[in-house]
Amino acid sequence: MTSNNEILSDKVGDLYEYVQERCLWQFYSRSWDRVENIDGILAQATGMFIGKKLDTPTPQDRYFMAEAKIMVDDCLSRYSWLKDASEEEIRVIIGELHGRLTDIAITSSKNHELTHTLY
């Protein structure tokens, strides 16, 4: 029998695989660019998934919104379980996704250029 943790892990895995395969924003040049993108885009995506869209007062916020919109639309069409997910479940899943992306793209990355102070 599949446990709740396994189901959650599978759902996080779905989104993680999608982002790894499709999203260039996780791989921008420096660690601070990647932190900014992962934080900003996943915050916007969470809002869209739960029907509470965030404001976009700056151009950078509008950029996060644009990336998140395509990600959310794609994921909703790929993963039917997303339509039935509760707000709480979405927050947990996106939180886990945030951790996994931060680990592969920043914390455990073998890219030696991530911490250069200049571009």
């Binding site: 260039l24 395509i70 592969i104």
Partner: protein
């Protein structure tokens, strides 16, 4: 195990750190090829030089700019006309080449006077052109010619001209990549925000990292025109020098080639707060995704969907025709760096093609993070591949077609494996919806042409060439 030491590399075992074979359940936290590192002695690299990265890739694309190469004549020819980036003003950049033609006496006594004379001669001969980029090369950098001082003097004497200098001799980096960097950072430091242009649309962007290879830029421009987006500058496909001085005016930077041009997009974000949006311009699915993101940023989603529907209606049946016939084709991509990650999923998703080996000449670790995340298990990922490695990899993966440059292309043609020019294209453009059909057509023609096989048959019978001549050929 996944980092691979090929048999041909037994005497240069350091190469193992540059070749990766993706295995199940692995990711870039475990293995990432070392890249943007000096070529290992003993490895016959196919890299270009740093000067080439600045001139051939970026600066030389501009349609209204004299490209003055301060060095021996060979540096000029070897970075001219080997890429096909047309322009809408009669291909000025491809018709002419300029050099100070440095000889031994100039090296001994200094070349600044010769440079000044050459700059003035070029402007005198072409009075309709008043923009120039001056490049140092290895010898003129070594003798310490001060090209900035010369350019400044000429600009004082000729107030209508503007000159940008690129001090990036061939030896200054491990590959072309250094030249991209130097030109990007030099331009933002010295030329951006020195001019403004008329704004004609509520939606403005810079399109960065697209070099109008066989008309890529011009094809994509038809999309931006339909969407009502004003392009402030093209960095640098079909681009104009003065437009690039106005980059600060854009609301958005859309980046295609993040390797050659990500630096200027990063700096524009840092200094002017203009967001950077990276897209893939090759492939139906990616192109549609890029258009959707741009339109979402500007709040013009309906226009984007209309454009995508129109383009797909026009080109999808043609793409599907090729997909039906290309399904299962094994492809190798041996190009500069970004096309590995731009293409590996787009050919798989849009054409059913399987990419079995990829090699990058000047990619950085960031490029390998992208391509390994997107690429398949059982595929080889190679940094700075050398010729013997290419032979061995061909034996291991047996590709049906190889997308690479003309130099390696000639090598694989002798093995009777079809090659398509992955840098300058065979019959482009390859970007956008129409472009990807062109790519599919060139791949189909390459894979299914009987000529490549027929060329391998020695019809001389008993008079066949001796074995040692065959080997040398």
């Amino acid at each position: 195990m996944p980092m691979v030491l090929l048999k041909c590399d037994k005497d240069i075992p350091e190469r193992q750190k540059h070749i990766y074979l993706k295995a199940p359940d692995e990711d870039t936290r475990s293995y990432l090829p070392i890249s943007n590192a000096a070529t290992i002695p003993g490895s016959l690299s196919e890299r270009g030089c740093a000067f080439c990265g600045a001139k051939l890739v970026i600066g030389g694309v501009l349609k209204d700019t004299i490209q003055m190469i301060h060095g021996p004549i060979g540096c000029a020819y070897d970075t001219w006309h080997t890429k096909r980036y047309p322009t809408d003003n009669g291909h000025f950049n491809m018709k002419y080449v300029w050099s100070t033609d440095m000889k031994e006496s100039h090296i001994v006594f200094g070349g600044e006077k010769r440079l000044e004379k050459s700059i003035n001669e070029a402007f005198d001969e072409m009075p309709e052109i008043n923009r120039m980029i001056v490049y140092t090369t290895c010898p003129t950098a070594l003798i310490g010619d001060d090209i900035k001082a010369v350019a400044k003097k000429v600009m004082q004497e000729r107030p209508n001209v503007d000159i940008f200098t690129v001090e990036c001799p061939g030896f200054s980096g491990v590959s072309q990549s250094k030249g991209h960097h130097v030109l990007n950072i030099g331009w933002i430091n010295e030329k951006v925000d020195t001019l403004t242009k008329e704004i004609t649309s509520p939606y403005t962007m810079n399109f960065i990292g697209d070099f109008n290879i066989q008309g890529d830029t011009q094809l994509l421009q038809t999309y931006w025109d339909k969407l009502g987006i004003q392009i402030i500058s093209h960095f640098t496909g079909n681009g104009a020098y003065d437009d690039l001085r106005c980059m600060q005016q854009a609301q958005l930077n859309v980046v295609n080639c993040a390797r050659s041009s990500g630096y200027i997009a990063n700096e524009l974000k840092k200094r002017y707060g203009i967001p950077r949006l990276d897209i893939d311009s090759w492939g139906f699915s990616y192109m549609a995704e890029g258009i959707r993101k741009i339109c979402a940023f500007f709040g013009i989603e309906e226009r984007g969907e209309a454009l995508i529907a129109e383009e797909e209606a026009k080109w999808k049946p043609k793409l599907d025709w090729y997909k039906e016939r290309l399904k299962g084709t094994k492809m190798a991509i041996w190009t500069g760096g970004p096309r590995l990650w731009h293409w590996t999923k787009s050919v798989e998703d849009d054409l059913g093609v399987q990419v079995v080996a990829m090699s990058s000449k000047f990619g950085h670790e960031e490029d390998f993070e992208k391509v390994i995340a997107r690429g398949k298990e059982g595929t080889y990922y190679i940094d700075d591949g050398n010729e013997l490695e290419f032979f061995e990899i061909i034996e291991l993966v047996k590709p049906d077609v190889i997308f690479t440059g003309p130099r390696v292309g000639e090598l694989v043609k002798k093995l009777h494996i079809p090659y398509v020019n992955g840098h300058g294209y065979h019959n482009g453009p390859y970007m956008g919806f129409e472009g990807f059909v062109n790519l599919a057509r060139d791949m189909y023609n390459a894979v299914h042409s009987p000529l490549i096989g027929l060329a391998g048959i020695d019809i001389r019978g008993n008079k066949a060439a001796p074995e040692q001549i065959k080997e040398a050929a």
